[in-house]
Amino acid sequence: MIQMQDVYKVFERKGVTNEALKNINLTVNKGDIFGVIGYSGAGKSTLIRLVNYLERPTKGRVLVDGKPLDLFDTKQLRAMKKNIGMIFQHFNLLESKTVFDNVAIPLVLTKTPKTDIQQRVTELLEFVGLGDKAKSFPNELSGGQKQRVGIARALASNPSILLCDEATSALDPQTTRSILQLLKRINEEYNITIMIITHEMSVIQEICNRVAVMEKGEIIEQGTVLEVFGKPKHPTTKNFVRTVIQDSMQSNMKELIQRQSAQQRHQLDANQQIQIYKLEFVGEHASEPIIHTLYRKYVNVQLNILFANMTEIQSTTLGHMVIQLKGNNEDIQEAVAFLEDKGVTIREVKE
């Protein structure tokens, strides 16, 4: 649906060049809710503006529906833009026009007959839950309501792609959630492909199925949300994931355990030892009674759960656990092998 091939974007201002995007390659498939996350200045805004050619790439190619945008003339670009809706962080509604007229604008631009406009706008306002606000002005609405108007306006021309530029960044958490639910409905009911840029990991967690992580103009990691959340590789990605998933102990807890195990070590028999492991469960492994089996089967190993957390992403459960095993080296190794066999990712934690 959307493809970017070796895209570079360089801004030049007063002789100073700034490479906003470097070597961008990404594909957004039809029906995706594709999230792009990064800190401010990472180049996300420039990236999303390439899709409807508000920004043109300095090098490389952007394809929408398989068609390269650089081959389009002005008229074709305008037609293409009608197939792509866009919503903004600050809504960008016309303050001088009513909610109805704001939503009607894209239709007025295409010279749609008045009766059709009336019908379509009414229908859209019902869909976004603002059926009673048609005659209000934007400054009489709350932030969430304004974004709903923005969404209705973006949908007016029946697009197949919706671009969301930090659409929830100016909203409180509760309003954010309701807007995200609305976006999900749009994706499901109208089969509209959605591309979202954000700096909030919770947005990605809530509705995206695929994600790209950006830093300094580059995509440093991309894949399904489950992959990226489950096994973040880049430190920046890990930082983002940590904002929504707690995958390790808090530091005061850590200190306590370190002190305890140091004490215990003095009292250990010669062939006994204490090891700490970090476990990761994905999907059905998270709901199997693995720990129970471990406890029952390996009676010579003393099991102590230090930390556990479950998170749901894309209706798949992601579990994180830190355990302490005490026993003979062989027994511990057997227990670890059992966990690996059950599909649990296990990693020894050195203190």
């Binding site: 409807n52 508000l54 670009l77 305008r78 037609a79 293409m80 833009k81 009608k82 792509i84 809706g85 866009m86 903004f88 600050h90 960008n92 509604l93 016309l94 303050e95 001088s96 026009k97 009513t98 604008i105 894209p106 007025v108 631009l109 002005f137 021309s157 671009l163």
Partner: protein, 219 residues
């Protein structure tokens, strides 16, 4: 103080002359100035119809005309005025320099008003695939309407001030009355009455402008 050499009728004629000069030059000046302001905004770097050549020619021309004090412009363009209206004296002769004076002024004010329209609105317009004409018609002008009304109010008041100098070319009006009777013939009464009339007119124009602008902003 109440002994005066002019009649009520002279006052009424003078007010009429002022209104005609302001009205006609405001109308023609707006017809030239508003498109001028729009052109300045759309052809500037980054505008929807960016044109370096056009902008870099238009911009200094406006500055040149704007830098001439009205009293100098008035006499400097007498040949042009004569060519246009076949006379260099009288109310219609005053309207030509008034128009040339006010059109670039309106152009500048309109430019400022339109530049106040938030960048995001234009980005939204562009994302909808609006043509440059549609951007102006459906986004720029409606969003700037309130500010444009205040702009024209300011221009009108500036114009009322300028008409006082129209007496130089026999243009008449209340300003001329004040100079030729009040000042040159020491008729204090005329000066006082003229001032009162001008204050009332300016207050009225400003209040009307404020009212209309408020209405435009909140419909």
């Amino acid at each position: 103080m109440f002994s005066t050499s002019i009649t009520l009728n002279q006052f009424i004629v003078a007010i009429q002359e002022t209104l005609v000069m302001v009205g006609v030059s405001l109308l023609i000046g707006s017809l030239i100035g508003i498109p001028l302001g729009i052109l300045l905004v759309v052809t500037r770097p980054g505008g929807v119809l960016e044109s370096k050549l056009f902008y870099s020619v238009l911009n200094p021309i406006i500055n040149i005309v704007r830098s001439l004090p009205f009293i100098i412009l008035l006499v400097a363009i007498i040949p042009f005025t004569r060519m246009l209206v076949n006379t260099s004296i009288g109310t219609s002769a005053a309207i030509v320099p008034l128009t040339i004076y006010i059109a670039p002024y309106i152009g500048r004010l309109v430019e400022n008003s339109l530049l106040e329209v938030k960048e995001g609105i234009l980005e939204a317009a562009e994302s909808m695939g609006a043509t440059p004409f549609q951007v102006i018609r459906y986004f720029l002008l409606p969003e700037a309407l309130g500010s444009l009304i205040l702009t024209l109010t300011t221009a009108t008041i500036g114009l009322i001030g300028a008409t006082a100098m129209a007496g130089v070319v026999g243009g008449g009006g209340v300003g001329d009355l004040a100079i030729s009777f009040g000042y040159q013939r020491f008729d204090t009464f005329v000066i006082v009455v003229t001032c009162i009339i001008l204050v009332i007119i300016v207050q009225g124009v400003q209040s009307l402008g404020n009212y209309l602008a408020r209405k435009a902003r909140r419909n």
